[in-house]
Symmetry: C2
Subunit: 117 residues, 2 copies
C-alpha cells in the first residue's frame, strides 16, 4: 500500500539533509541535472534514500538520508555534484536552505484499505 | 529576495520534525484543518518555523523546526492536534513517515538579482 515515494530507512540513528529551495521560472536543464544527481547520489557510500516534493510555485523540499556525516560531506564534495551546485546558484534557484540533522526517532503509518470501511 | 516560504531559524542546534505524506484524493476538510494546525503550532512554546511543499500527486513534505525535543513532544500531545492526527489516519493520508532529528549544521543561499547579469 505504501507509495514508493518514501525512503526505506532503517532504525535511527541516521542523518537527514533537508534541502528546501525556491526554483526560478524555466527549466534551463534543471530536470535532466536533477535526475542525474539523484542517480549519482544513490550510488554514494552511506546513501539510504530520498523523499522529495515540489509544488506548482516552484517551492520544494528534498530530504536525503545518510548513514553518517562523512557520507554527506563526501557527496557534497563530489566533482560532478559541485558543478551542479554551482549551476544551481547561477541559474536554477532563487534561494535555498540546507540543514544537516541527526535522526533520533522515527515512526510512520500505512493505511489498510479495510480500515476505512 | 528570499521567499517567505523559508523558516527563519537561527544558529543550530535546534530540532526538525520531517513529515512526509501521501494524501488520499479529495479534500474532506483537510485544507481547513491544515491551516488550523499551522496556526496552532505557531503558538506553541519552542516553535521556530515551518517549510512545506506538496506536489500535484498529493505527495508532500513538511519540515517544522523546534527549539528542543520537549516542545515537539508537547505539540504531539496537544488535544486538538491529537484529534487532527486521528482524522489524518482515518481519512486524509494513505501513508506518512515522521522523523525527529537534531539539526547540527545549516547554510543557505539567496540570489542577488545582479549576480545573474
Amino acid at each position: 500500500m505504501a507509495s514508493n515515494r518514501f525512503a526505506n530507512t532503517l532504525e535511527p540513528p541516521y542523518f537527514v539533509v533537508t534541502f528546501a529551495s525556491q526554483r526560478l521560472p524555466g527549466d534551463e536543464g534543471y530536470g535532466e541535472m536533477a535526475a542525474r544527481m539523484a542517480e549519482l547520489a544513490a550510488k554514494q557510500p552511506g546513501y539510504l534514500g530520498v523523499e522529495s516534493a515540489r509544488d506548482g510555485s516552484g517551492f520544494g523540499i528534498t530530504n536525503s538520508f545518510w548513514a553518517d556525516e562523512e557520507s554527506i560531506r563526501a557527496w557534497k564534495r563530489d566533482v560532478e555534484h559541485l558543478m551542479a551546485q554551482k549551476l544551481g546558484r547561477q541559474q536554477w534557484y532563487e534561494s535555498y536552505r540546507v540543514r544537516i540533522a541527526r535522526v533520533e526517532r522515527a515512526y510512520g503509518f500505512d493505511a489498510q484499505p479495510n480500515e476505512r470501511t
